[in-house]
Symmetry: C2
Subunit: 130 residues, 2 copies
Amino acid sequence: MADNTTWTALASADPEHACPISPVVDIVFSRWTTPILWTLNADGRQRFVELQRRITTITPKVLTQRLRQLERDGMIVRTYYPEVPPRVEYEISELGRSLAPLFAHLAEWATTNLDKVEHARNDYDTDSAQ
Amino acid sequence: MADNTTWTALASADPEHACPISPVVDIVFSRWTTPILWTLNADGRQRFVELQRRITTITPKVLTQRLRQLERDGMIVRTYYPEVPPRVEYEISELGRSLAPLFAHLAEWATTNLDKVEHARNDYDTDSAQ
DNA sequence: CAGTATCCCGGGCGATACTG
DNA sequence: CAGTATCGCCCGGGATACTG
């Protein structure tokens, strides 16, 4: 971490993954993380229930788990207000916001290539079916 | 897909995910796919065993599963040579190669921010420990 | 070589119920 | 409101052994 070796060198130094982006993938693209980060970035600071309402299919337990993980990784900031009833607000951190261009890049790739994937799937399925 | 509504509009149109990049994530960042795509892109066309040797911890069963999935999604091309012994070669497709800038972007984010994540984790762990 | 065929297991995730 | 607490299941993934 202290040396400036190239990424290819690091990749070969980690034969287990053979892929320098694997660590990032684990952090950013584990389950439910992209919806959470996306909403917090797009819709701003929100409370627990608001997140639940936007990401409709997530259960409170799993939402808590993912929020804790994202907080630990420094991607989001949790603020607790000791009121009655208690209030908690989540907002994206600067580090989390630094992913925005990457997400935009991803969204752009999706617009131009998602239908190609769909097409490839249809081809594959019809070909192997006959 | 035919309209040009903004991404935020599309996001709200899919409340289940509330995240327009979720489909891409499922395709590109499911388990083992980034090492496979990375190697095929960086080291070129390869045979089954070569992939196995580079991605040391993957089992043949799972490697087959992921290769089939990537082939179906049009990300890689499988070529079978009916020789004795049989030979199969995998190479990245044009669609798969279109991810290269994205992966580079990801690698760049990693170089500048991975240590911040590490730092945040240390802070979180020490703070919640005391 | 390039895969299948089984068996099996852990844990991530979901569903439900409950608390300060 | 903002979560915990429990239970249980499914299935993706690993280990191992075998085939054309």
